[in-house]
């Protein structure tokens, strides 16, 4: 019944933020839009909520064209990045406000607010006002107010960006299970790719003008349509190395840097690349595909190159190492239990069958 349907949506003429965007989010579907800050994710939600007017295109929920409806008549509930809480109302009343509008009785309101506050772990703050709570607590209050509404479409704009890893993990699981969210169409905006991959039934990666790729988590991570998509999913970010493809004997090789960075292209990739007769590429190597070998360790099926450590940091659950490898800076993911010193020589094993090749100018994935 209530799917969200967007057709030919445009916003901004000279510098279109949204340029002819088509998107359908099914009833019960959780669709996540991920993309860099400032790219227009919030604008998209505001257009759907009616807080900004479209320059062209139409928006429908179920059978109803809502393109020209004022915001308050649209059956949507939205969280705002700026929270937009009522400063003179308590946290309880802020969360309750959509329920009051629906004229629920007092007991039902109390029960609903208490339940959502518990879920978001702000039940102890219900008597306070927005001016008396912290940044992350405000964010959860805003999310609570949205979740108690009974809309046909949820529009969630970075609803947990100000929270720590632990509670985000827990809330992600809650989102997976939350009936309210799973019953209707939800459009969820984030700049955090982990959140996007984890939550999205489908994920739309937003670039200039609109969604540059739509697919499942595995689609967008394993088969990025472009360098842009690959660069925006993954932390540390994928290594993007400007390189030449050279025929050496019968084999194809990657060459880059000024002191001999290179590796042979695996046969399956070489076949795909040969079709295009391409010389200049951007090679994409994910940090988890660069293995920092231990003394005496070898890595069958990998290409091993020498490098020197530039930066090493042990973080919470893994270590990040940046090495100079033949004139190219390569980032590798390691175990956090290792120790490296600046300029220490290391051997790096590249998993060359997991490398991406992008067109040097367009950034298109040449293997697709």
């Amino acid at each position: 019944m209530a799917r969200l349907r967007i057709e030919g949506l445009c916003k901004g003429w000279d510098f279109p933020v949204i340029d002819n965007l088509d998107l359908t989010v099914e009833e019960g579907e959780f669709f996540v839009v991920v993309g860099p800050s400032g790219i227009g994710k919030t604008t998209l939600l505001r257009l759907i909520a009616g807080l900004e007017s479209a320059d062209a295109g139409r928006i429908a929920i179920g059978d109803h064209d809502i393109t020209n409806l004022p915001p308050y008549k649209r059956p949507v509930a939205m969280t705002f990045e700026s929270y937009a809480l009522y400063p003179h109302l308590s946290v309880f009343e802020n969360i309750a406000s959509p329920l009051r509008a629906r004229r629920l009785d007092a007991a039902a309101i109390r029960a609903t607010v208490t339940e959502v506050a518990k879920l978001l772990r702000i039940e102890a703050l219900l008597d306070r006002r927005p001016g008396e709570i912290s940044g992350g607590q405000k964010q959860r209050t805003a999310l609570g107010r949205t979740l108690v509404a009974k809309p046909q479409v949820f529009l969630l704009d970075e609803p947990i960006s100000h929270l720590d890893a632990k509670i985000r993990h827990d809330l992600r699981l809650q989102f997976h299970a939350l009936e309210e969210l799973r019953r209707v169409a939800t459009l969820y905006v984030t700049h955090d790719y982990v959140e996007a991959l984890s939550l999205g039934d489908r994920i739309g990666v937003m670039g200039r003008g609109g969604l540059v790729q739509i697919g499942s988590a595995r689609d967008v991570f394993l088969r990025p349509r472009s360098l842009f998509v690959a660069e925006h999913l993954g932390q540390p970010a994928i290594n993007a190395v400007a390189a030449r493809l050279t025929g050496e004997g019968t084999a194809l090789h990657v060459r880059a840097g000024n002191s001999g960075f290179g590796f042979p292209v695996v046969a399956a990739h070489a076949a795909a690349l040969a079709r295009g007769d391409i010389q200049r590429v951007t090679v994409g190597i994910r940090p988890q595909h660069v293995k920092v070998l231990r003394n005496g360790e070898d890595a069958p099926g990998h290409h091993v190159i020498d490098g020197r450590v530039e930066i090493y940091e042990a973080l919470g659950a893994n270590g990040v190492l940046v090495a100079d490898a033949g004139g190219v800076n390569l980032t590798a993911l390691t175990s956090p239990e290792r120790d490296f010193t600046h300029r220490q020589p290391v051997r790096l094993a590249l998993q060359t069958d997991a490398v991406f090749y992008f067109h040097a100018e367009s950034g298109d994935n040449l293997l697709l």
């Binding site: 008396e132 960006s161 827990d170 982990v194 042990a314």
Partner: protein, 373 residues
């Protein structure tokens, strides 16, 4: 240059009849030139702490010293602290150079000196080539660096940053963190960085101060916090996904004591020495902590398996997040997580076996929640 010392600092907000104890008996020293991060969950008192250091919030009780000078009664200007927020207001109609130069101009610094200072700082921040541009033309990362520049240009003795990276895109973040660390190393200024993001804190700081519920829990390096968390809270908060906990009690065993989860058939092997010590300590309730990274899917890791144990569980959620897969599992009523290879793909309800090394089992006192070494 300055060291900072907080001695028994408290912050209590009072309004409309209720009192909120936002910072409780906080003792913390930041050495001259040191980079310390204050890390903790939402609402634990990080911003309140910073605001007291800067002088924007009254100190309810306790003292703050810069070097040996008590600054409680000094106003913010007199403290010579610069604070950068996530969104630093830049003047949109001025160039970056003018934006950076402005705070100096206000103080009557002569033009030639202003120019030199701005250019030196721009070199440090690597923004020389955008000095002539207007703020609107900059990327997020560039704006961030200019914002840092705005705070640094006044040459403060202490430099404070509150959640400045939370809106930086993930793919730029690490690089910017490393950059900020380099800037700190070159400047040698005392810096305090507040965040809820452990990656930021661990990437930047010499030491991390972990707060929870208004109180300091532990100050330490990454290894100290990760391997010797003083209590359940720190073990849970540092590391990602969060640590799994199981309420447990000691079982004397036939040949060697081990821990058994309460009301469940789950057992945990602990190293012999530790088991003996636990047994000698008298009957107590415990909490077992096991990190998701230390639970290995059976067959995933070949090679010599260290002494340890095994758990069998049912998969509840298979969460693919790109570089890895996070499994949410259920065993005998207990819910916990394990981290697995990206290619892992289980359906709901499938049974899996997980191995762990007994040396990775953390044991806490159930009552005090303190780590039992």
């Amino acid at each position: 240059m300055a060291s900072i010392r907080l001695a028994q600092v408290n912050k209590i907000y009072r309004s409309r009849g209720h009192a909120v104890h936002a910072v409780k008996d906080l003792d913390l020293t930041v050495e001259d030139g040191e980079f310390v991060a204050i890390l903790g969950p939402s609402g634990c008192g990080k911003t309140s702490t910073l605001r007291m250091i800067v002088g924007l919030e009254e100190i309810t009780s306790g003292d703050i010293f810069f070097d040996d000078r008590r600054v409680n009664d000094l106003d913010p200007q007199a403290r010579n602290v610069a604070m950068a927020f996530e969104t630093y207001a830049l003047y949109p109609s001025f160039t970056i150079e003018e934006n950076l130069s402005f705070p100096l101009e206000v103080r009557g610094v002569p033009a030639a000196e202003r120019r030199k200072k701005v250019h030196d700082l721009a070199a440090l921040l690597r923004i020389e080539d955008i000095l002539g541009q207007k703020p609107a033309a900059l990327s997020g990362g560039q704006q961030q660096r200019v914002s840092l520049g705005r705070a640094l240009i006044r040459d403060p003795a202490v430099f404070i940053l509150d959640e400045v990276m939370s809106h930086i895109d993930a793919h730029l973040k690490l690089q910017m963190l490393f950059e900020l660390k380099r800037i700190h190393q070159e400047l040698g200024k005392t810096m305090i960085y507040v965040t809820h993001d452990q990656v930021e804190a661990l990437a930047l700081a010499d030491r991390v101060a972990v707060m929870s519920h208004a109180a300091l829990q532990q100050v330490g390096t990454r290894n100290e916090l990760y391997h010797e968390p003083v209590n359940v809270f720190v073990a849970d908060f540092i590391g990602e996904p969060p640590t799994n906990f199981f309420p447990a009690e000691l079982d004397a065993g036939d040949d060697q004591p081990f821990l058994r989860a309460k009301n469940a058939a789950l057992t945990f092997a602990v190293p012999v020495e530790r088991a003996r010590r636990l047994a000698a300590g008298g009957r107590r309730d415990y909490v077992v902590g096991l990190r998701p990274q230390n639970l290995h899917l059976d067959g995933a890791e070949s090679g010599a398996a260290p002494a340890g144990g095994m758990l069998t569980a049912e998969v509840a959620i298979n969460e693919y997040v790109g570089e890895r897969t996070i499994l949410t599992l259920v065993a005998d009523g207990h819910r916990f997580r394990a981290q697995a290879h990206a290619e892992t793909s289980f359906g709901r309800g499938e049974r899996v076996c997980l191995r762990y090394a007994s040396s990775d089992v953390m044991v806490f006192d159930a009552e005090t929640e303190a780590l039992i070494a």
